[in-house]
Amino acid sequence: MSGATDGLPSTPGAQQGSAPLVVFDPRLGPATAAEDPLSPDARQRVRERAAEVIARYPRPRSALMPLLYLVQAEQGYVSADGIRLVAEILGLTTAEVAAVVTFYTMYRRRPCGAYVVGVCTNTLCAILGGDAIFQALQDHLGIGNGETTEDGMVTLEHIECNAACDYAPVVMVNWEFFDNQTVESARELVDRLRAGDPPMPTRGAPLKTHTEVSRILAGFPDDLADVGPSAGPASLAGLELARRRGESAPPRPGASS
């Protein structure tokens, strides 16, 4: 996300009718609506769920972000046609919607692989090995940042701090944690993703595809909340030490223990 590189959201006059809407992002190149319209079924599904999303908020426009995830769940990315649909549902201009889409990095602007592999290269992870892992994966897969393998299985990118620095170096796959990675473990991880044999995340549930994940991010979860541990070892480091040392907070008044 960077305001400085946001492109012009739409061509003049593109908001009305069916003139091809050009959404341009200098990082991603142009995408045109005409190339990838939503199917009638997909439109119907988004419209049906939209009512439920809008009902979560005091004002309809607040539903914009989850609606964009719903569109992404249909096409794997937010197409110009998807932008038009969301604009229609909320009574906004396509320019208003496109301005939001271009601001947030998790809305994809073109198709991506079934698995988005994000290597944390913010300072802490980078220094502890994230840079080496990211380089090794680029070499191993023969693709660069933001690119997808030819089989359509893996999109590789570097990501910012994902709130798991105590598990550095961290790799995220479709926003599930793969903690304490090495060059070797990361190579094996992408090999298995490409072979259709995705490994379990360290702290999470069996991997879902990127489109399935977008639906959850729209606030329509699957039933996997109970899978996986409550915490990883680093999260428990202080607690376990306190137990070993016999330390605790002072007892609360009136508490039995």
């Binding site: 996300m1 305001g3 400085a4 946001d6 979560r56 005091p58 004002r59 539903a63 972000m65 964009l68 995830y69 909320l90 939001v100 601001f103 998790m106 809305y107 913010n122 300072t123 802490l124 220094i127 502890l128 090995g129 840079d131 080496a132 990501i159 910012e160 701090c161 709130a163 620095c165 105590d166 995220m172 926003w175 599930e176 304490n180 060059v183 995340p201 702290r203 994940v213 991010l217 729209a218 606030g219 699957d222 996997l224 909340a225 109970d226 996986g228 409550s230 915490a231 680093a234 999260s235 428990l236 480091a237 202080g238 607690l239 030490l241 306190a242 330390e247 605790s248 002072p250 609360r252």
Partner: protein
């Protein structure tokens, strides 16, 4: 004062199915809510004021005072917004809390909403943490099913709706006014303050925005009471706090301790630096807080300690680096982060962070000059205090503090025509046990 660890928020992170309502209730969960609903909203507010709880999102603002700014009897809806965007580099406490014990936050949010007379609450959670989002959504449903959210909660006559809003990847949305823009369906760019959110926040209505850890501390304060809470920490910084240790330490992780503990004590708990290495520099509270060195091992990590030595407590995200680490490389990467995350609204930050990256790039490739260091300081002068929001100010912290403590290392980069460090040596998989 001798310190000990005081797990309260983290106490049941390791328990069987700790994220479920059943497990939470089995350890007394939602009893504090019953207690609070038996008090008047003003009495709950007074309790939190008296506890001395201060915000855990970075600035340490007194929570009770913030709640007290909400006008009462104004006829407008009030809103509570919990900031679960956790994206400040190094910060990794709220996300494990939501993974392990989301009900602690939900109970706190209901109590907080009651105290400020809000009937709508939001939890704004970053989007990049899928399983945490699953657990949070499930917990909200469970709480609703048990009658803790909805109409006439526990027969008290108090109504509350709670919506989880899922972000889409933007560090700036952790800034409270950018967060509100995002929640209203706009690009996440900060708003001019004043008016402050307490007067004109979400949809122009009075709004309290608090960090996850702040709100999650409330049930314990209600159940333990002011005296108990204040028996931990210091006079001005009471209570317990989750310290997040990462980097070149033997046992990185979350350590919950009274405010005022020092890095020396925390390092002792974490098994020291990784074997055969020594401390070089660290952040006391995320990348936006000026760096510290081994000279600061005994600075009390409360809201007063780091400012007395030129830094800030921030989010108590202690990113710890040993002597194998190139400080120029570390700071360059943070600069790239700020440049990427700058929302572009104001010139000092948008342009300044861009130029930071250009200069660091030169320095790292050995093409820098002595003048570059002065330009970095000059740029920092032009950002600090002139940026529209605290992202810009924060971006200057690693730059100016690293030049202050490690100017020689900057010089070495251009004198030696490149980086004098071996990046392999600072990885966790470096030569397995070489010391």
């Amino acid at each position: 004062m001798s310190f000990r660890l005081t797990p309260v928020l983290t106490a049941s992170w390791g328990s069987e199915r700790s994220w479920t309502l059943a497990a939470y209730e089995a350890t007394g969960g939602y009893q504090a809510l019953r207690t609070a609903l038996g008090m008047s909203p003003d009495a709950v507010l007074q309790l939190v004021k008296d506890s001395g709880l201060r915000g855990r999102g970075g600035a340490g603002f007194p929570t009770g005072a913030k709640w007290g700014f909400i006008p009462q009897g104004d006829g407008k809806p009030h809103y509570l917004v919990v900031n679960a965007d956790e994206s400040e580099p190094g910060t990794c406490k709220d996300i494990p809390l939501l993974m392990a014990t989301p009900h602690t936050l939900i109970e706190g949010a209901i109590i907080a909403a009651y105290a400020i007379r809000a009937h709508y609450a939001f939890i704004y959670v970053r989007g990049e943490v899928l399983h945490v989002i699953r657990r949070l959504l499930r917990a909200v449903e469970e709480a609703r099913g048990a009658g803790y959210i909805g109409r006439n909660i526990l027969d008290s006559g108090f109504d509350l709706e709670l919506t989880v809003h899922i972000g889409a990847g933007a560090y700036i949305c952790g800034e409270e006014t950018a967060l509100l823009e995002s929640l209203e369906g706009y690009r996440g760019q900060p708003r001019l303050r004043p008016p402050f959110p307490a007067i004109s926040g979400l949809y122009g209505c009075p709004t309290v925005i608090n960090n996850v850890e702040t709100i999650a501390s409330v049930p314990a304060i209600v159940s333990g009471g002011v005296e108990w809470y204040r028996s931990m920490g210091t006079e001005k910084s009471p209570g317990f706090k989750i310290y997040s240790l990462s980097g070149h330490v033997a046992r990185p992780g979350q350590y919950e301790a009274p405010l005022g503990i020092t890095l020396r004590e925390l390092l002792d708990a974490a098994g020291g630096m990784r074997e055969g290495h020594e401390l070089k520099f660290w952040t006391p509270g995320g990348s936006s807080t000026p760096l510290f060195t081994a000279a600061h091992l005994d600075v009390p990590l409360d809201f007063e300690g780091p400012p007395a030595h030129g830094s800030m407590l921030g989010t108590t995200a202690l990113q710890i680096f040993d002597e194998t680490t190139c400080v120029v490389r570390a700071v360059k990467r943070w600069c790239e982060f700020y440049a990427h995350e700058s929302c572009g609204k104001c010139t000092p930050c948008r342009e300044g962070t861009f130029w930071y990256v250009q200069i660091f790039d030169r320095l790292e490739r050995g093409l820098g000059t002595a003048e570059d260091i002065e330009t970095l300081l000059d740029l920092s002068d032009n950002i600090l205090g002139r940026a529209f929001c605290a992202l810009g100010d924060g971006a200057t912290s690693p730059v100016t503090s690293s030049i202050q403590y490690f100017r020689d290392e900057y010089i070495a980069h251009y004198e030696q025509g490149g980086c004098p460090f071996d990046p392999v040596a600072s990885t966790v998989f470096a030569g397995a046990g070489v010391s």
